[in-house]
Symmetry: D2
Subunit: 366 residues, 4 copies
């Protein structure tokens, strides 16, 4: 089955393996007239690039993107945008060993069961490098959203037990520390915690939060194509994500109606709005005009240097030690991936909502 | 946009409003040869039926299902199965008031913004009655799964602050108490908590857990069509669900690689298996042969009798009191809805996985 | 696999068998605000109703439609429109024989091979009665197109060797004769030809033509989602259709570039237009503003009273004589089915085209 | 809307413009274990390559393919196969003129209307070079079909008025003449006819026929996803195709039931088969075990050197003469494109048919 294609109106097909010839994406369904250059894409790719701090893998990849189609005289033409990133630093010898055993927390065994064999080099298709394609497409979606006035703010909310303090929230801080945490104090604590993890050949998980502002009201379809349901699928499709929340999320399950309901009120401009935002900007699967708030729970990097028990392809138990260059925490590099998947989903759902009302359609074709 | 259609190979299209003529579903893509009767469906519908305890709405609906097509001589024919439940106890006068104002926590305002007007009777399409159609389709999916040896166990894990104790877990208990909690002590505490909520004209949220056993390994597609991503969308598409987890979920974000990784081991039968199951049965988006564990966070019923601040259609603030017959907690009735959405997704993904390997396909067409 | 669902944005799921409890359709994705009543649908259903002339099956079916959802206070709400037609005159005993053998020109054997058994009563799902659901959905699509100023004219172009004469084309005539031929002379010849067929216990094929006027330019997507490709699938999905053409169709294959190219010119209003219309209103898969012209080749009714050679379920050759009430030609009743499938496709593609240009989208969300 | 993505289980996303950096395709959903090399693809690409005879454009393109992903150690891995052909001989100056006017028979004007501007170089995305991507994906589909024992034979049936004689049919001849006609006498007449066309700065259309043998019975879904309906869409999505037929096609419309019905009979091996094949291998949208026969009507190349009347972007009428290197007939080069689209559709439908019967599914997962 075709699992590497995503979206309905704004669609992407991604491809590529960690240690193959490259990684890429075809964006099919981008409207014409968007100014787009390789620089626009590169800015997003650089946010997930390896080797930018000691808390990330030391693999050296420029991750330089080439736009091969769909742009003419600096603007999108409405036809598919193909983007390609060649792999450079494929130190595959690091991985020759893992051909023979199954790494805990990884999909190695599942790939062998499902496909009969696997491209074991660096995890092949199941590697985090696959997300390059998502981010390249996400950069296009973000630029489309921007042209509609929508903004996304995405950051690390927690690393292991270290959580940011909402009262110290400073958006400028997000790009100042290697963790993309909007709270400098928490970022400092996270650094200490991660150094401890690294000393123990261990790794950490964390939580990513994304806030979308100025998104039009009325987007999202009732029943199955709810905006939050699609955001959930998009974000949960990212490799290490194990949980997803909208608004108060799991806390809402412990709350009561009187607390959790957001009263409606009328703002200064006469517009109906919500006095609070426990709902996280979505009611009945439809955007309600408030900020959309979502969170993703990211598991600890499964590739750790400490010895672990596993099984080899002959079915024998063996102690293994994973070599290679791995991130002690992938959360900071995954921030832009969450933002990308959210943006792609939002633009697709926004396009889908254009046919809700016959009077709008009649007006459109006049 | 078409938001009431779900699935790729096993597909359903649902329809119907709370106080219209009925609710129904077309299941398109069910294989031929499944013995199926209205009784098979009714058992599932009865699990979500209103009026079965004092902790559920007192609306009286038999919710009797008619199978109109797709079954011949007691077995499915491979063609679409249309199922219809007529609405009976449409006490629409209870709802005439809500035509004029927007209920907090509901999609009323969003529907007006999106569609220009709405069927306000009982929430129309955004009512929880819509889930009847999901459950009818879910009953078919569950029966298909059963014929493949797969079992689903779904129950209430918590109501408000009252959480079940895993050590008291008793599957027999699930259908013994009105909360479908597998822990009789917690069920008793939940009853007390809910009576307090009802006294205060308030409502409660809760968490539902679903465990799937004996599901084949190798199901789920890499990248976007991950099994967990599709389960997330399916479950998050249920009205009041605000959060979703697989395995350790948000707790994994606070964990470390050494703890969270599940070591591989070899069982007595020589099969490779996981020694623990923090992953919740899915690695790299693919089922790994362990039990699949998922959780849904359900928000408190937004329809509460206590006075709330809202706005009417003329844009004036007003205090409202919601009449009608409402559940103080929808979690117990949503248990079978979560199970249904999980089952539908599992059978669809299972079918999708049949084309993973060329040798299997060649064998199939021999 | 789910074969009874059609469309991307404007979607329908159909169900029902010839001699089961009924036939129906769920239209998912109809915008809100369309005035819609059962009478609107009935007008279209009556155009394909049996028993209206001696050249059609004498089965007596009122084919009365019930709209069960999606309409409130006389207008569509934007939620799914479920429509149901109960079967009445199920004279199944006529069909008990065909349980045992395979009718030439029918799908009986294929259903047995594919599904292991079949609902043999009147052909079950493969009966022409299935098209009731298409016509009910088509009526909605036609009404949407009408509100955009688009008109469809569909008629019988030929029956067997009898072809209409374009110079005698009279649109008023279409509903004056039982063949829906716009040429009264040809209609007379067709009557004589069909009576000859009936005398010989034989049947006839024919060609249906559909002309769509005032359809917006620029609809249809390059490459795979061409407007003509989607029209082809829609029309070829009708039971007995064996060929499809746009514009000059197969005649274009015998033509030359100098003849077949339509020169561009400027009309009185200053609009660029085509001086001729060999292309049939579509260039590069995109509507070009001229009338869209399509044709469907319909095979002769396979159910004929004359003796035929066939094979029974035990694999023995036998001479068969098909009983039951059959149309000597299905072309006249299929006219409204072709129109319906065209309309459904056109409205879906029209909706799809709304996201072609970013400037339009920005304007839409202002 | 995303128009460059095709297929449900076996899916492709294509991209690229005639005079951009290249053309490519991502094949998503190919099962693992298929031996695949660039040579396998190149053989198919060479069948549509320009410059191979005086009856084809003299543009010089090696059309060399690179497989960038999805193949490991010589076999497909089950993950997306990305393939890339760089453009080489982009003589764009030939096209600078056509920026200013609209070529008759081309989509230039439609692109401007739809997208606001266009990549005019060689037709951009609407160029026939787009079909490179289809053929690369088609080569994969053909190899999959071959591993299931299915063969496709595709050839030119007619060029302009010159039709092959079925009695002279010689499959060996197909690759012996530049027209891929299986009849050497007709090929000679076609050469003479085309030289006359070229002398007159004119062009010709033609008909392509494809015969598929040994395709499994029971493939294709009832109602909308009929095998013939999907083949129709696939083939009609090819640039210049204006008509499509299955079996007797339009001739069936002039036939009678007694002639057109194929009697069932029992072959020597005891298998039920059809004595004739007017149906072209498909009944009720499902393959019936006989050879599948389809035909595509291809219009004359619209780019001709003779002067034509057109309109420029300022809306002024002008006489134009199209420069550049054009095929006097595209039929011979389109043969492999028709074969590719048929193969892609057949493999996709074949995969879809694997879930028809529950007993097969239960057996599969044992």
């Amino acid at each position: 089955m075709s699992g590497s294609t995503f979206g309905t109106i704004f669609k992407m097909a991604t491809w590529g393996e960690s240690h193959g010839n490259g990684i890429g994406v075809v964006v099919d369904g981008c409207p014409s007239g968007l100014p787009l250059s390789e620089e626009d894409i590169q800015v997003y790719l650089d946010r997930r690039k390896p080797g930018t701090s000691k808390f990330a893998t030391q693999r050296k990849e420029g991750d330089l993107v080439e736009i091969i189609s769909g742009v003419f005289e600096g603007r999108t033409t409405g036809t598919p945008i193909a983007m390609l990133v060649r792999n450079m630093d494929q130190r595959s010898r690091d991985y020759s060993e893992i051909a023979d055993y199954y790494r805990p927390g990884h999909a190695d065994l599942n790939f062998d069961v499902k496909y009969g064999f696997r491209d074991y080099r660096g995890g092949g298709r199941s590697s985090g490098r696959e997300t390059i394609a998502r981010v390249a497409a996400g950069a296009v979606a973000c630029k489309l959203l921007k042209s509609l006035g929508v903004t996304l703010t995405t950051y690390t909310k927690s690393i292991g037990p270290v959580e940011m303090n909402a009262e110290r929230f400073d958006p400028e801080e997000i790009n100042r520390n290697p963790f993309h945490m909007p709270d400098p104090v928490a970022a400092g604590e996270a650094a200490a915690y991660l150094q401890e993890c690294m000393r123990n050949q261990n790794s950490s998980g964390g939580v990513i939060e994304c806030i979308i502002r100025n998104f039009p009201q009325g987007v999202g379809e009732p029943v199955f194509e709810k905006l939050d349901a699609n955001l959930a699928k998009a974000v949960m499709s990212i490799g290490a994500v194990k949980g997803f929340e909208i608004g108060d999320g799991f806390a809402a399950a412990r709350s009561t109606g009187l607390t959790n309901n957001d009263p409606f009120t009328v703002d200064a401009a006469g517009k109906i709005t919500k006095a609070t935002n426990h709902a996280g900007g979505i009611l009945g699967g439809i955007s309600d005009g408030s900020a959309i708030i979502l969170r993703a729970a990211v598991k600890p990097t499964p590739s750790i240097a400490a010895p672990q028990m596993s099984v080899n392809r002959s079915g024998e138990a063996q102690e293994i030690r994973i070599k290679g260059r791995h991130d002690p925490v992938i959360v900071p590099r995954a921030v832009v991936v969450v933002e990308s998947m959210a943006a792609i989903t939002l633009i697709d759902m926004l396009f889908q909502s254009m046919t809700s009302r016959l009077d709008d359609i009649v007006e459109f074709f006049k």
